[in-house]
Structures are given as C-alpha cells and as structure tokens.
Amino acid sequence: MDLSMLWYLVPSVIMLVCGIYGFITRKNLIAILISLELMLNSADLNFVVFNRYLFPGSMDGMVFTLFAIAIAAAETAIAIAIIINIYRSIGNTDITEINKLKY
C-alpha cells in the first residue's frame, strides 16, 4: 500500500474511532450527532482516498461520497427534528434520561 495513502487512512480511522467514542460517552444528543457526523465523514474520506489512490481511472468513489454527504445531511435534519421533539417533551437533551423503554 502506498505510504502516502496511509497518511489519509489513519486520520480516517481516528475519526471513526473518535466518532464512536464520542457517541458512547457524550450525554448531549447534539454532541452525539456531531460524533455521528465524524463517523460518516470518515467513511467519505475513505471513499475519496481509495478512489484517488487505488482507482484513479474512475470516479465511483467520488460520486458516492457526494451522495453520502447529502444523505448525511438528511439524516442530521431528521435527527435534529426528533431531538427538538425530545427537548419539548422532557426539557433537555440528556441521552441518559431516554431509557424508559427497556428489557
């Protein structure tokens, strides 16, 4: 593997791990949403990097990334909407309080 590709992949993995870590540790839903964005971006980064370094002849990865960004935006929008709903009904966005449904 090209050494220079690793320079992009390592941050991508770090982003992914950070995103997951953030998701798991944050209490605020918005922070969690940001962590999610981090994860999505890590995936996008992967696509772009692989496209650029491995398959420079085609554009599949790039196009895919564009779509993925759009989808991520949509996801965020819906998530925000629901978070607002939650805020309305319980008055905060603390994820630890959202566990009435269990077992």
Binding site: N46, A68, E75, I78, I82, I83, S89, L101
Partner: protein, 491 residues
C-alpha cells in the same frame, strides 16, 4: 440519456405516481376532501398492487446496470405491496383518529416514500443506488415512528431509531468503503464479484464484510444489531410497528441475499458463511429468549420478529435459487402472519387501549373471532401446519440443507430446537386467550370494517397459501427466470 429506461421501472413508477397523487391531493384538498384520502389511497394502492402482480417485469438492466427489474425483484415488490396494503387497511381507523387525522396525508406519503426506497434497495445492482434506497427507506421511518406527537414513548422510540440508524449507516458506509478498496474501482455488484476474493483473505475484507452485515443486519434486526428493535416497536404507533416489522425487514432480507450472493459469493465459504452462521444462531436464540419474558404485546412481537429474521436469513445460507425462493415465500407468509397478529393487537389497542398479554386473558369469551385470528397467526408464526408458517419454515429448512453440509444440518437443528422455544411463547398468547379461566378484561367490540377486511385477508393468507402452493411456485418461477447473478453456484 435514454429516458425510455424509466419505462422498465414500472413498480417504482406506480408507487411514485400514487405518492404524487396523494401528495397533491393532500396539499390542495380542503378538510372535507381529506375525508376521502384514506379510501382513495387504499384503492389506488390496491390497484397498483394488482398491476405489479399482473404486469410482467421487463427483465432488463437499465441505467448502465445499476437497476434491474426482473421477475424476482418484481415478485418481492408485489409481496411487499400486499403487506403495505394490509397495513393501510389496518391503520384506517388510527389515521382518522382525532390526534392523527390532520396529518394523515403525511402518513401515506412517508410510507410510500419508504416503500419506494425499498424498491430501489431490492432492484439495485450498484451500491450507490442501494445506499440511496436504504436511506430513503429508513430515514422517513424515523418520522413515522415519532408520529404520535403526544406520546413520549413515540419520541424516545424515534430518537433511538434515528440515532442507531445513522450509526449503522455510518458503519455500513465504512464497510462499503473497505469493500470499495477491494473492488477494482467499481461499485457494481457484478464488478465487485469479479475482484473480491481473488487474493488472500485479508482482515480488512473481513471487517468490511462484518460491517456490511451489520449495516443491513440493522434493518433486519439481526443479533447483535437488533437492540433498537424492541424499544422502537414498543414506542411506535402500532400501524408503524407492523410496517417496520414486516415490510422493511422483507426488503432488507431480499437485498441482503442479492448483495451477499452476487457480490460476495466468492467468499461465501471462506468468510460470510461462518459470520452468518453465528449471527443466525444468535438471532434466533436471543430473539426467542427475550420474547419469553415479554408481557407487552408489541414488545413481544418485536422479539418474535427478531427471531423470525433469523429464520428468514437461513434462506441466504442456502445461496441458491431455492433458498431465495423459499426466503421470498417465507417473507410473504411472515407478512400475512405478522400483520394478522398486529391487526389484532392494533384493533384491541385502539378500542380498549390494552396492550399487555395479561389483558388478553379470556379474550375468547368477549371477542371469539379476534381470538381465532390471533390463534391462527400465532400458529402460523410458530410453524404449525396446516397454516402457511409451517410450509415456509419447512421449505426454508429444506433449501438450507440442499448442500448436504454437516454444518448446515446442525444449523437447521439449532433452528428447529429454537422453534420449540418460539412455540412456547406463541402458545402463551393462545393460552391467555383460550385457556386462562379469568373473566375477559377486554370488552366486546365491533372491529372497524377496513380492519376487518385486512384481518380476513391475513387469515385467508395464513390458511390458504400454505396448502395452495401458488405463491411459492410464483416465487420459484420468478427466481428461476432471473438467476443470472447466481452463476457462482451453478444453479
């Protein structure tokens, strides 16, 4: 660009057409006009469904092979449509209730959009289209889950759903990005199939596969990716729960089969056979173990559907046409049986607000027909002949063992033993309704007409479509005529 390519997307166009009509009608009609929204949508949808059943598929690849509408995809779409139609019927009372009536247009629109996404999912032969389909099938669902604005549970369910869904799609995308690294530069299924598995098995590919399984397994609620299921099912409005439990699961299962057999077929026995082996065992077992304890009917059905997903995925283990046909048949039977159960749960919830299994005690005294329908649904889900569930289970078991491998026989044995546990909890419901000596907590009531029709459709499906092999034959023929992608397995 050749616009005539759209001509082969008949099912999508039909759904899109209905969507547009409903949307426009909903937007521009007055309060009075909205009253006919429910019948209008239902009838339109029924016509559309019939059209999909009748009109033969074009069987050609369009958009450069990103999309295909062959007989098999057409068949699964038809099956999904039946499910959605029944969901429409059984939700007719709920959408016209005071709380929801004002937003009922949105309900239909969102459902149709997700259905459209699922169509894309099953017809996709390129990961881009697949992801678009997947996301458009899952994101609107979050809105639907949150549909009961005044119920906190609905919000909690929605937030759980959307958060895990996004997480899962992130994981899926990461997985796909790794797959992309092995793909030779193309995200067409058929191209990936040529490159993957050429070299040594690398850890990265395994992670990629595991992430893809996780991503799609999320929709299917395979263990351990299922944890959202119960909470969301419990919190969501019952109509949405039933929709979630069957339609989105059915489409995901089909897509899973296509992707794993067409794309990753070459690494079947090296890699994902064993992953799925473990996942299926875990799914069936954990689903069953959780279901045993449940008292809330919706939660109960959630875990039952987790376990059913395991059985559905057995079809994928067969990696042949028989497996796919059996899986589609299973999905059909699962649709009618599960919707039958949900129809009863839904009716009872709407009429009396009772959801606990204990409330069902002595139900046969007050509502014999509902008890009867529920019993049939439970028997069918448990795989008791002569109901359809028995046939779907057996056929899927038969297809799994077709390779005569010891391991798969053992898998079937484990699945079979699990059917006993599942029978136990399905019988608990039957017991509550028929055997429990208490006086019924649920008073006698008359079921709304549309719901009745929906229920009867389910009952008819449960009773007849096992004994009459029409559906299975239909699926099998459809699969046989579109087996181009199964070249790896000489079938």
């Amino acid at each position: 660009m050749d616009y005539s390519q759209f001509g082969s997307m008949i099912p999508e166009l039909i759904v899109l057409g209905i969507f547009m009509l409903v949307f426009l009608f909903d937007t521009f009609s007055n309060e009075k006009g909205k009253r006919i929204l429910t019948p209008l949508t239902t009838i339109l949808f029924a016509l559309g469904t019939i059209a999909i059943w009748i009109v033969p598929a074009s069987c050609e690849e369009v958009f450069g092979g990103m999309y295909i509408n062959d007989n098999a995809t057409n068949a699964i779409k038809a099956i999904l449509n039946v499910g959605v139609f029944i969901v429409f019927l059984q939700s007719s009372k709920w959408v016209n209730s005071d709380e929801v009536a004002i937003r009922k247009g949105e309900f239909y629109e969102l459902i149709l959009v997700t259905l459209f996404g699922m169509y894309l999912m099953v017809s996709a032969r390129h990961f881009l289209l697949f992801i678009i389909g997947l996301e458009s099938a899952s994101l609107p669902l979050a809105a639907l889950v949150a549909f009961n604005k005044r119920h906190y549970e609905s919000h909690e369910a929605a937030i759980k759903y959307i958060m895990t869904a996004v997480f899962s799609s992130a994981i899926l995308l990461v997985g796909l990005s790794f797959v992309y690294a092995f793909s030779g530069g193309s995200l067409y299924f058929s191209d990936i199939a040529l490159y993957i598995g050429q070299g040594e098995m690398s850890g990265l590919l395994l992670i990629a596969l595991a992430f893809v399984i996780a991503g799609i397994g999320f929709k299917l609620s395979l263990v351990p990716f299922h944890l959202w299921t119960a909470d969301v099912y419990e919190g969501a409005p019952t109509a949405i729960t039933s929709y979630l439990s069957v339609i989105s699961k059915g489409s995901a299962a089909f897509a899973f089969f296509v992707i794993f057999v067409q794309c990753f077929g070459a690494v079947y026995s090296d890699a994902w056979e064993w992953m799925m082996y473990a996942v299926i065992i875990a799914t069936i077992t954990v689903g069953n173990l959780f279901a045993i304890r449940q008292k809330n009917m919706k939660r109960f059905m959630a875990f039952s559907s987790v376990s059913q997903a395991g059985y559905i995925m057995l079809g994928a283990m067969a990696v042949n046409g028989l497996g796919l046909a059996s899986m589609m048949f299973y999905i059909f039977v699962y649709v009618v049986s599960n919707l039958g159960a949900f129809a009863v749960i839904n009716t009872i919830e709407e009429n009396t607000g009772k959801l606990s299994m204990d409330d069902y005690n002595g139900l046969h005294k007050s509502n014999p027909w509902l008890s009867f329908a529920m019993t049939l649904a439970m028997f069918s889900l448990a795989g008791i002949p002569p109901f359809a569930g028995f046939f779907s289970k057996i056929l899927i078991f038969t297809s799994v063992t077709s390779s005569n491998s010891w391991a798969l026989y053992m898998l079937v044995l484990i699945a079979l033993i699990n059917t006993i546990i599942s029978l136990y909890y399905y019988l608990l419901v039957v017991k509550a309704m028929w055997i429990s000596p208490e006086e019924p907590k649920i008073g006698t009531f008359e079921t709304e007409r549309c719901q009745k029709v929906g229920l009867w459709l389910c009952v008819a499906g449960i009773v007849f479509f096992g004994l009459v092999p029409y559906i299975y034959q239909y699926c099998y023929d459809a699969v046989q005529s579109s087996l181009g992608f199964l070249t790896f397995f000489n079938l």
